[in-house]
């Protein structure tokens, strides 16, 4: 296909997508940058003008920001830890001789297809409710006092819900990667005298290193923006206990109508995501060459 004509047609075919994505990326981002240097509140549109770094200073020094940043990091870190560790274990388990494995796999991946608002509300009301929730019943049956999840451990509750949603993603990817593990390699390891544990640590984990990296990065991208789960359960509360950066920006923009401040926050979120994206793009790019 290396003919001149096909190359020219190729450029024309790619152009619309490139232009659209470029606009989609650059126009709003440029506006965010611009607003972030402006005094701009929708409730008070008359007071406007360039304020330089003021919005950033206000956003970054706002005690809410530190809390939100810490909450974001805890949320991302905890969910990553839970999903990757459990994901590896479940993937290895699914790789064993299980009768009806197809069905088990269906059950395990199902949570990924549930829309965020549904999973958040189902967990909050049906499972975690302190009086009539399913967990409360289990605790009482065991002679324990039921936990009032969203009052006493709001962030942990959010973490559990989000981890449940993303566990299938990690499991599915790691399981797929496991299945590409060469059977002959496994047999060679057995011939070399490797037991199940040394096989796991010497062969399986190194083989999973790359997919684990992919899982961590993809999840990070999405977890930095967790929003709907917080919106429908805690609204960021009680107090600021479950406010992450995404929710803080939302609150600034659509609850306080502080366009300037929210824009500054948005840029902070973009910078955070870009640090992760930088590494992810390089990783995927390496794969593209192979």
């Amino acid at each position: 296909m290396a003919t001149k004509k096909s190359t020219r047609i190729g450029r024309i075919a790619v152009a619309p997508s490139v232009i659209l994505l470029f606009l989609w990326m650059i126009v709003p981002l440029g506006m965010t940058l611009y607003f972030s240097t402006q005094r701009y509140n929708l409730l008070n549109p008359d007071r406007s003008g360039f304020v330089g770094w003021l919005n950033y200073r206000a956003f970054l020094t706002n005690p809410g920001f530190t809390t939100a940043l810490v909450n974001t990091l805890i949320l991302v870190g905890a969910v990553l830890l839970i999903t990757v560790v459990l994901g590896i274990l479940i993937a290895v388990l699914l790789d064993q001789p299980i009768k009806g494995r197809g069905f088990v796999r269906l059950m395990v991946i199902a949570p990924f297809f549930i829309m965020p608002t549904v999973s958040a509300l189902v967990w909050k009301n049906l499972l975690m409710h302190p009086v009539s929730g399913f967990f409360a019943w289990i605790m009482r049956s065991l002679g324990l006092t039921p936990v009032d999840w969203f009052t006493h451990h709001p962030l942990l509750s959010i973490i559990l819900i989000v981890a449940w949603q993303w566990l299938p993603f990690a499991t599915l990817i790691l399981f797929t990667a496991l299945q590409s593990l060469d059977l002959e390699q496994k047999e060679a390891a057995e011939m070399d005298g490797a037991g199940p544990f040394s096989y796991f640590f010497e062969m399986v984990l190194p083989h999973l290193a790359r997919p684990i990296t992919v899982v961590i990065m993809m999840e990070t991208i999405f977890l930095l923006s967790v929003f709907a789960e917080i919106l429908v359960t805690t609204q960021g509360g009680p107090g600021q206990q479950t406010t992450n950066i995404a929710f803080l920006v939302y609150a600034q923009a659509l609850l306080n109508y502080n366009v300037g401040g929210a824009s500054a926050g948005g840029i902070v979120a973009v910078v955070l995501a870009n640090i992760v994206a930088f590494f992810l793009v390089r990783l995927v790019g390496k794969n593209l060459e192979a």
Binding site: G10, S17, V104, V122, S132, V249, A253, V284
Partner: protein, 276 residues
């Protein structure tokens, strides 16, 4: 390959596997069960598992709320529309990049990927203002555009990896056999690309159906999909569990079925081909 595994081993792993599967699936199962209970029954402690008076009244009530159907229709319109829109742009682009790559193709693809990395909250403010100024708030067109653009990189990437797998030899063979460009597309390329396109559509519909940032922020009533409908149950806390469950079950059922069909492609699409 035909290795003997001791029956005891199989039994242990089978039990363990089913137990884990059940635990992970339980919230969904519980929701579905609750949707068949009366509101009173849903609250009862100790909870009843299977032995309660199964009722369809929640479904009837949810269906009867005239707006449920509108939300469902909106979900279908948004998921379908955004998928279609993304495909229109993605198919030529992915096709060209897979079959006549230039020295810039790799860079272009990575750049497209990087646009997906941008957190939506970073552009929430300008998007909201743009939507307001162009009267796009709470419209199908606006949301379809946003969802399509948001998923365009994934769609292009997925199609690209599928198209890449069509052997070039076959296209060259068709040319040697005298096929003109468009005959090549109609008789050879399209039939071979259909499975890949179908999987891409599936994944994109799932993603668009469950999208809950733009749909919640840029729509209120007219164009709001099921994500927003379910979110509306968050305010009257704890009063309508059974109905919430029924509505949720209806909202997730179609996508759960689609998802189960597309699990293989899912891995590929969500990791941009980095894991196959």
């Amino acid at each position: 390959m035909a290795r003997r595994t001791s029956p005891a081993r199989v039994a242990v792993f089978t039990a363990l596997g089913w137990a884990v599967g059940f635990v992970v699936f339980f919230p969904i199962l519980w929701m579905v069960l609750t949707s068949f209970k009366t509101e009173l029954e849903a609250f009862r402690t100790p909870p009843s598992f299977l032995f309660f008076d199964w009722t369809l009244e929640n479904y009837a009530i949810v269906q009867a709320r005239s707006d449920y159907l509108r939300y469902a229709m909106n979900s279908i319109v948004l998921a379908g529309g955004s998928t279609l829109a993304a495909l229109v742009f993605a198919i030529p682009a992915a096709w060209a990049m897979a079959f006549s790559p230039t020295e810039r193709t790799r860079g272009t693809l990575l750049w497209m990927l990087s646009t997906k990395m941008m957190p939506p909250v970073g552009v929430l403010v300008p998007m909201y203002l743009l939507f307001r100024d162009f009267s796009l708030l709470d419209t199908h067109v606006g949301l379809i555009a946003v969802l399509a653009l948001g998923n365009l990189p994934i769609v292009i990437w997925m199609l690209y990896t599928y198209f890449k797998e069509i052997p070039r030899d076959i296209l060259e063979a068709s040319r040697m056999d005298g096929a003109s460009s468009w005959k090549e597309i109609v008789f050879v390329l399209t039939p071979m690309a259909v499975p890949g396109i179908a999987s891409t559509i599936l994944l994109n519909v799932i993603l668009a159906w469950n999208e809950a940032f733009w749909t919640l922020n840029l729509s209120t009533i007219k164009a709001a999909p099921l994500t927003a409908f379910i979110a509306s149950y968050s305010s009257p806390e704890g009063l309508f569990w059974a109905k919430l469950s029924a509505a949720s079950t209806l909202a997730i059922a179609p996508i759960l079925v689609l998802g189960w069909f597309s699990q293989r492609q899912l891995v590929r699409g969500l990791t941009f081909g980095a894991v196959k």
